[in-house]
């Protein structure tokens, strides 16, 4: 790289560094603030005295959550959903991607299926028909409604297909000469080679299922079947949609238990923070790999 060592260049570098650090700080600030509130005394939080450090440090909010049965119930539903969702999606999308990565010479119908798949990405029936269908299928109020309700993650399939297509054809031919059929080829050749992209889409699926709240809201009948995000949405975030005035709104937000809410929000964030380093390592690589086409 080019280097200039004049004082102007140094000033430029320093300003740049400070601005960038400030922006990064701005991304972390709200999360850090939430943690500080969750560890503060209720009255201090309500009076707006909490900044970047807890005021009246205590674990009361977390203790209170420990005794909250519905919180644990929803947490467990979310865990189930993530585990089932990630494994079902991994299994089905990988299996789908292999035939779709063949050339039309090898698999004549390939483009037809590919277009059907892409069509569902471009057009959908809308909320009401989707909701009615799920009900008719008997998936309402079941964990499978949450696991399957989002439909096939078409974008993930396309990412895997593109990755498979970019693997050298020679590998394929060598395996064929050795007498490998499609199943052996997929299991022993393609899957091991595609670990980066498969890890990426699986981590994305995990985050999706952990974060998704809307299906939890419309596809379940009540609190006992809510995943965690829906529970938090309903009891922390949502503001009653009855007609109200500005004063009523103000009073409502003052009544809320800020420290407890902050603790709930923070706990719901923790799983994402835990897998984030792995996500970070894989996703840039995975995305750029899948998007490069011949």
């Amino acid at each position: 790289m080019l280097r200039e060592n004049t004082w102007r260049a140094k000033l430029f570098d320093l300003t740049l560094l400070i601005v960038l650090l400030l922006i990064a700080f701005l991304c972390l600030l709200p999360l850090w603030y939430t943690l500080a509130v969750s560890l503060s005394e209720k009255s201090a939080a309500a009076a707006g005295r909490v900044w970047l450090w807890p005021v009246g440090f205590n674990f009361n909010s977390y203790k209170q959550i420990m005794g909250d049965g519905s919180f644990f119930n929803s947490f467990w539903i979310s865990i189930q959903r993530v585990v089932l969702g990630a494994s079902v999606t991994f299994f089905i999308t990988t299996l789908m991607a292999y035939p779709l990565s063949r050339s039309t010479k090898e698999f004549r119908m390939r483009n037809v299926f590919m277009w059907i798949l892409v069509f569902t990405l471009l057009f959908n029936g809308g909320l009401i028909p989707w909701y009615m269908t799920i009900k008719e299928l008997g998936l309402y109020d079941t964990i499978w409604g949450l696991v399957l309700g989002g439909g096939v993650p078409v974008f993930n399939v396309i990412l895997i297909v593109n990755f498979f297509r970019n693997l050298p054809k020679e590998l394929d031919e060598a395996a064929l000469v050795d007498g490998a059929g499609p199943w052996r080829m997929l299991l022993t050749l393609y899957i091991p080679l595609a670990v980066p992209v498969l890890a990426t889409v699986t981590l994305f699926t995990i985050v999706y299922h952990w974060n998704e709240f809307f299906h939890g809201l419309v596809l379940t009948s009540g609190q006992e079947n809510y995943p965690l995000q829906t529970l938090i949405q309903q009891f922390v975030v949502v503001i009653n949609t009855a007609n109200m005035t500005e004063d009523q709104y103000k009073r409502m937000s003052e009544l809320s238990n800020q420290t407890l809410n902050a603790a709930k929000i923070f706990i719901a964030m923790v799983p994402v923070l835990i897998i984030y380093p792995f996500l970070q390592r894989f996703f840039i690589h995975g995305i750029t790999l899948g998007s490069v086409k011949e």
Partner: protein
């Protein structure tokens, strides 16, 4: 020979995925007939009464319709612009930073909000912008009157756009950074020898090097003109800001699932789907023509 014997296995591999696709994505497409019915869930698709275009006529007669369409497009277009430009500026700035370790740390931090849900971020935002929250404390401190931010219809769309850009800019930077690595370093050297200073090099080398990427992202975002972001708005809005913050998706949810106006809500949803479909097709056409982009 190989084709015939393998094809059977290919179909078996596709089967689970396409059953899933059929049940959750394709069958609901036929459910759009609800838009032309006085739909009654007890009677189902086949027994409900047909009403022709009544739902559409009613939709165009409603006062809500122009409002929600305007709000949707307004918020969505502002987000498209913000999400195109802010990451671009950030990527160019990050590219100029010479300290590799710091650079990597900054990147890691700014991607993070993308992976947190709007439920969580809304909970945080509602607190940060609340009447006694930190933002209002600062405003009081510098002598301004505190504002009840989420009760102000005039501010709502801008809070929505700003918070969305805040959440997504880091992630959107990735594509620009990938494009930046493909700029030939000798171009910078040549420009330096010609006497171009740092800012001039950014203007004449970096920016043109990103031109294709910028055009591609702009074109592809066209398909989102009617997607103002349901999750975010649903978690942040309230009746006080419906006039500027209610969008097609939130309205369809309330009318369709809460007020059980199935036919009407499906009609509005269908209009949205059709317009979005056309926009996406156009944007893909443009993308393939100008940037040689193909989805598969």
């Amino acid at each position: 020979m190989r084709n015939q014997s393998f094809t059977k296995h290919y179909y078996i591999m596709l089967l689970p995925g396409f059953i899933w696709l059929l049940l959750i994505s394709i069958i609901p497409m036929f459910g759009i007939v609800i838009a032309f019915q006085d739909f009654n869930p007890g009677k189902g698709f086949f027994q409900s009464e047909w009403v022709g275009l009544d739902n559409f006529e009613y939709m165009f007669a409603l006062n809500d319709t122009p409002v929600i369409f305007f709000n949707t497009v307004f918020i969505a277009v502002m987000k498209m612009i913000g999400n195109l430009i802010v990451p671009l500026i950030f990527a160019i700035m990050l590219n100029e930073l010479r300290m590799m370790l710091v650079k990597r740390w900054i990147q890691t931090i700014v991607y993070l909000p993308h992976f947190l849900s709007w439920v969580i971020l809304s909970g945080i935002l509602l607190d940060v912008f609340s009447y006694t929250g930190p933002i209002n404390t600062v405003m009081t401190f510098i002598g301004l009157d505190p504002i009840l931010f989420f009760a102000r219809a005039d501010l709502f769309p801008f809070i929505i756009v700003a918070s969305d850009v805040w959440k997504e800019f880091g992630f959107n930077t990735i594509i620009y950074l990938a494009a930046l690595t493909s700029i030939n370093p000798s171009l910078y050297e040549a420009a330096a020898i010609d006497g171009a200073a740092r800012l001039r090099r950014m203007w004449h080398v970096t920016l043109p090097g990103l031109r294709t990427t910028i055009v591609l992202l702009a074109v592809l975002s066209l398909g989102n003109v009617l997607n103002a972001g349901f999750d975010q708005i649903f978690n942040l809005y309230n009746p006080l800001v419906y006039s500027t913050g209610d969008i097609i998706d939130t309205w369809v949810y309330r009318e369709g699932l809460l007020n059980m106006q199935y036919g009407l809500a499906t009609a509005v949803g269908l209009l949205k789907s059709v317009v979005s479909f056309i926009l996406i097709i156009v944007s893909y056409q443009l993308a393939s023509r100008f940037a040689n982009y193909r989805i598969f």
